[in-house]
Every structure is written in C-alpha cells, then in structure tokens.
C-alpha cells in the first residue's frame, strides 16, 4: 500500500462525495443545500487540484483538467452566492439564486465523477 495513493484517492473521492451531498435535494430550496458543505467541497476540490499537479502522464493531464473544471464551476457558484440577495429572518437566499448555485455545483459534480472514473479505471488497469 502506498500512502501517496491513499491521499490521492481520498481527496478525489471526498471532493466528489461532498459535491454530491451539496447538490442532492430540491434544486430551488435553500434549506436542502448546506453552505458548510459547499465550503468544504470547494476547499477539498482546490486541494485535490493541487495534489494532481506535476504528473506528466496523459492520464495525469486529464485528471488535472477535470479538477480544474470542477474548481472553476464551484468558484463561479461561490461568486453567485456572494452576490445573491438575502431575504427573511434566517438569512436565506432566494430559491432562484439557489437553483443557479446548485446547477453550477452539479456541473462540478460531473467533472468530479469523471475524476473518480479515471481513478477507478486506472487502478483496475494496473491490477496491483
């Protein structure tokens, strides 16, 4: 067992699971989408991107590209959240803004799923 592989797989999977957890639920309902989960997903995605730096293989390049896509989608979602108007006593944003944020995060989820798929395929091919 290789510690580097553990850390690598851990961050890629965590990025995908957090992303999924945030996206899961009614797209327009702010109560279904936790801001902490979103923050964690963004941070873990950035770390996952940094971990992938420096791999010169073709697979490494696709890995990095997928992560960059995910980070860009999440950053766009975060910006949307920054500028979304807050309504009501619970400091919740409107259902329309939430839908936009979640759909961007869902795009990031797709990229993360690609990363996970590559990870699985790569592992299967190596058979070690």
């Amino acid at each position: 067992m290789n510690l580097e592989k553990v850390v690598f797989g851990f961050f890629i999977l965590l990025a995908a699971t957090l992303n999924f957890g945030f996206v899961y639920g009614d797209i327009g309902n702010p109560l279904f989408h936790n801001r902490w989960e979103f923050f964690a997903a963004l941070v873990v995605n950035i770390v996952a991107t940094l971990i992938k730096l420096g791999d010169r293989t073709h697979v490494g390049a696709i890995h990095l590209a997928a992560s960059l896509v995910a980070v860009i989608q999440l950053v766009a979602a975060a910006l949307l959240w920054f500028f979304a108007p807050v309504t009501g006593a619970e400091n919740l944003i409107s259902g329309g803004s939430m839908a936009g944020i979640v759909s961007l995060a869902a795009g990031a989820l797709l990229a993360n799923l690609v990363s996970v798929t590559i990870l699985i395929v790569e592992t299967t091919v190596q058979r070690r």
């Binding site: 801001r35 923050f39 941070v43 950035i46 770390v47 940094l50 730096l53 420096g54 959240w81």
Partner: protein, 573 residues
C-alpha cells in the same frame, strides 16, 4: 526539455506549500464564520463566508487592511491571533520553497535549456550549427557574426556556454550545453529545422566530430557538414559517408606547402583569395628549395615531410623517437639544443620546420636554429591561440596555426560556396595562369584582400537582372553587372572570377559574355562595389539605367502617363 515541463516541474515543487496555505485559509475561514460576534446592543452576529475570506486575505498576506465589520469579541481576537501566526508560517514556507527552487541546479538547467530551445525556435533567419566552441569555433563564430550570419553553438563544457553570453557579438547566440556526439543534442540545437544551413563539427575530439557528421548525414541529409579531423584515418572515414568538407589542418598545410614550393604564384593566389577580407595581403616569401630540417615527426611533421619529398627536396628529421624511414635521414633529439640540429645539417640547410605539439619547444627550436644559421627560412607550428604574442615577437617566415587554418577554410566554404571549385581549378593551372589572375586582381584591389561572393541569376537573388533578360528580352552582359549604378560609364572595382553554367566552370569570363537565367557568377571585389552591384541586380529601375542609360519612370502615375505601364515596376533592393 520543453517550456511547459518547466512550469510543471516548478508547480510540483510548490505543491506542498500551496496545499498548506489552502488548508490554513480553510481553517481560518471556518473559525471566523463559527465564532459569534456581539453587537453593542447585545445581539449576536456571524460573519458570512464572503466576509471571512476577505478578512483572511488581507490578514494572512500581512497587508493588515483595517476594515473590520464590528469590534471583535475576545474569543474572535484570540482566533485571529492564531490564524495570523499560522498564515505567516504558510507564506514563509511558500516563499522559502520558491527561493530554494530558483537556486536548484536542475531547475535552473531546465529553465535555461527551455530558454535556448525557445530562442532557436524563434530563429527565422538561416543559421549555422557550430559544434565545439573552442579556439576554432570562436574564430569561425566571430567571423560569421561580422558577416551577419546567425549561428547556434553546441559545447560540452558548461563554462564555455557561459562565456558565449559574455562575447561582444552583434547577435544573440543560442548556446546549447550538451554532447555533440548525441543526436538528441544536435536536434535540440535545431539540426532538423529547415533554416539550418549546415553543421560545422569543430570539437577538439575527432571521434565527436565523426559522430556529429554521421548524425547529420542520417538525420538531415541535405545539410552540408564541415568537419575537423586531425588524423588521416578519421578524415578518410568521414569522407566515406559523404561529409561535404573534411578539414584536416595538417594535410591542408602540407598541400599548401607543396603548392608554394612547386607553384609560388598559384599559392599566392589561393592564399589571397582565402584570407580574411578587409585585411592587407602580405606577400609571403615562397619557401626556398634545398635541404630542410624537420623537428617533430608527428601528424604535422608527416605532412610536411611528405610535401618536401613530393617536391624532391632533401629532408632530415629530428625526433625523440628517431623514426626509421627509407631514404630519409633521421636524428634522435628534440632540436631544442644545437647539437642534434647541427648533426641534421642545419648549417647547410635552407629552412627549418619546428613542428612539435608544444609551443615553447617549437619556439626554442626555431630560436636555436636561427642562432646557428641566421638565413634560415622558419616554419613554426603554433598550437595554442594564447601563445600568439610570443609567436608575433619571434616573427617566423610562416606560422602555422591549426585553428586559423580550419576557420579560414570553413569560412571560405560558407561564404562563397563556389570558391572551392574555382580554387581546385586554379590549383591545376600552371603558374603563368595564376600570375595573370594575380595581376588582374591586384589591378582591381591593390593590396587589399578582396571580398568574394557568388551571384546566382535567380528570381530571389537577382530579380531585376533576371526580369531584364527573361521578360524584356534585353541583352545583359557581364560588363553590365560591373557598371556603377551612379554613373554607368564608370566600372565597379570587381573582377569576375568564374561563371558556372550547367555545372561547367568558365574561369575569368570575358566581360562581353552574356548572362542567362540559372547562371552562377563568382566575383572578387571591394565591399562597397559589392553592395552597389547588389542594387543593380535587385532594383529594376537601377538595372534599367545601367543597361540602357535611361531612367525609367518609377511610379505608377508616370508609367501610365508615358503609357509604359508595368515596364519598370518598382522593386526596392
């Protein structure tokens, strides 16, 4: 190594600190959002993620911008203190890693290699590839620089690569640090590029030159290779796979010596035409016929003895090895003392050759020999460029410097591709012919060393002249190309040396000879005359004036008014 991989290499090294900073930011933001603040009226508030990120950014980068949404509670202040220290450590880690990386030899090597590769890729002009930038390479490089020709240097010695940057050259020279024996190095230096004009293998290692020449033959067969070879075996090997020009300085000197003994005028002509342009040509005294003493029977001594023997001269060899050769007397010794020299017959000799591979020994031999016999003709071999002051002070009749001989030969081939054919032709002519050429040459040039150039009558090199012949049906004679564009009655200081038509050489063509498309002309003359001729060949208006004596209208309006549209379209030089 490519440029993008340098970026990757750098990012890989920075992975750790970058992840650390992201982690510190994340933890700091979480704390700031979680810790409640208290309004003056007692109500509680929380930072949003946006506010927390903003606060972290200016705190963690030590900017310390003072915009705080509300006065902090003691708990918040404690947390901010903690994250300030944490983030400063994170930044210090990052900066430290960046600095360490820029000091790292491997990284710097990769950086400079990427820079050189970029510079070579950005080269648009034709360039030469010089392998080995020692004494010879430097001489060739400087001369190419003066001619305005670009070149790329390959050398195995890192210190020399550094020196290239410090040379006072007019151009930026890309210098590749690597072994010329390895094809990858040559490819990195741009061997496969279409604007690579040729390769000069000038390292001080015959095997390296051989490997480089072979690599060029296989990887880019259309490019000419000039290789230096110090031994006959390597020379023959190189020639066997079609190296375009093998320069063996010793053999070359031997053949010049033989020529000088047999045909002094031919020798003078050859050395005048291959001397560096712009300098004064010194009339060398021809070596006298008679008894010669040769000290040192190495690669150089062999060639010299062969030259003397071929001319039927009497030779005595002085060498510590005392080689036993049929019909040649030899004496044991170095020749630095008078005794072996006297035994070799120095008192009755006409000349001495000091040809060992040590400069001090050679000078010592020559000085001793001159003390014994003052009227000796001295030929001294100089091995190192750095000994030049000593050899200048001694002032031998002939000083043989390998690097200069190689450099001159290479330059003659590069500058004027057709010169070699002319010189080979000249070598088989008799001395009277050479005398005649010399007379005409000095009539044009005086004592100046002429510039030599070849002019192909093609659309790229001489569009105006070609247009006059092909489209307007004018008769262009050689004489027309020797007219001054300012006053056509005045001749330029140019001597036509040869005309090549369909592979046939016509030496010293008559000036009334017509020129045709595809001709190659070889000229000798002064630099100003050369540039004047270039204008005639390229500018249609000047060409017309020179041919007919009338000024053609140059602009479109004047052409239309005179109804001769298109007859003299302007083509600037």
């Amino acid at each position: 190594m490519q440029g993008s991989s340098v970026v990757l290499l750098g990012l890989r090294a920075l992975r750790g600190p970058l992840i650390a900073i992201v982690a510190i930011f994340a933890v700091g933001i979480v704390g700031l959002v979680l810790l409640p603040g208290v309004h003056p009226d007692g109500s509680r508030w929380h930072m949003t993620f946006a506010e927390a990120l903003y606060f972290m950014s200016y705190t963690a980068t030590t900017i310390g911008f003072g915009e705080v949404p509300q006065t902090f509670t003691p708990a918040q202040r404690l947390w901010v203190t903690a994250i300030i220290f944490a983030s400063v450590i994170g930044w210090a880690y990052l900066v430290g890693t960046v600095l360490a990386m820029t000091r790292d030899e491997a990284f710097r090597g990769a950086l400079s290699a990427a820079r050189v590769t970029r510079a070579i890729r950005a080269l648009r002009e034709p360039f030469y590839l010089i392998c080995g930038f020692g004494e010879t390479g430097l001489l060739v490089g400087r001369a190419l620089d003066r001619l305005g020709t670009r070149f790329v240097v390959v050398d195995i010695d890192g210190a020399r690569i550094q020196e290239v940057k410090l040379l006072d050259l007019a151009q930026e020279v890309p210098a590749v640090h690597g072994d010329a024996r390895l094809p990858a190095t040559l490819l990195r230096a741009g061997l496969a590029r279409s604007n690579c004009q040729g390769v000069l293998a000038l390292t001080n290692d015959d095997q390296a030159n051989l490997a480089a020449a072979m690599a060029v033959r296989l990887l880019n067969p259309n490019r000419p290779v000039l290789a230096r070879a110090m031994s006959r075996e390597v020379e023959a090997n190189m020639a066997s796979f079609g190296t375009d020009q093998v320069v063996n300085p010793f053999a070359l000197f031997g053949s010049y010596l033989a020529l000088a003994l047999a045909a002094p005028a031919s020798y003078r002509l050859a050395s005048w035409l291959t001397a560096l342009p712009g300098s004064q040509f010194e009339m060398h005294m021809a070596p006298p016929q008679g008894h010669w003493v040769v000290c040192g029977y190495g690669r150089f001594g062999r060639e010299v003895v062969k030259a003397f023997r071929d001319q039927g001269l009497d030779v005595c060899i002085v060498d510590p090895e005392e080689p036993r050769l049929r019909g040649i007397q030899s004496i044991r010794g170095t020749g630095t003392e008078a005794e072996p020299l006297v035994a070799a017959g120095i008192r009755d000799a006409v000349g001495i050759v000091a040809g060992t591979d040590d400069d001090i020994t050679n000078l010592s031999i020559a000085v001793t020999a001159r003390e014994v016999n003052e009227g000796l003709f001295t030929i001294v071999r100089q091995n190192l460029q750095s000994s030049t002051p000593l050899f200048d002070a001694f002032d031998a009749n002939v000083t043989m410097v390998s690097s200069s001989i190689i450099a001159n030969e290479c330059l003659a081939v590069i500058k004027t591709p057709r010169l070699k054919e002319f010189l080979e032709f000249a070598r088989i002519q008799d001395d009277e012919w050479a005398e005649r050429v010399l007379e005409r040459l000095s009539g044009v040039m005086g004592n100046e060393v002429p510039e030599l150039w070849s002019v192909p009558i093609t659309i790229e090199q001489s569009p105006a002249a070609l247009q006059a012949v092909e489209e307007e049906g004018l008769t262009v004679t050689l004489e027309d190309l020797l007219r001054d564009p300012g006053d056509r009655e005045r001749p330029l200081q140019i001597l036509p040396l040869a005309r090549f038509r369909a592979g046939a050489l016509l030496a010293l063509p008559e000036t009334r000879e017509e020129i045709r498309a595809g001709d190659q002309l070889l000229f000798a003359g002064t630099p100003p005359a050369r540039s004047a001729q270039r204008i005639v060949l390229r500018n249609a208006n000047t060409c017309r004036y020179v041919l007919t004596g009338t000024d053609a209208p140059s602009g479109w309006i004047w052409q239309t008014i005179r109804g001769r549209s298109g007859a003299g379209g302007k083509r600037s030089a």
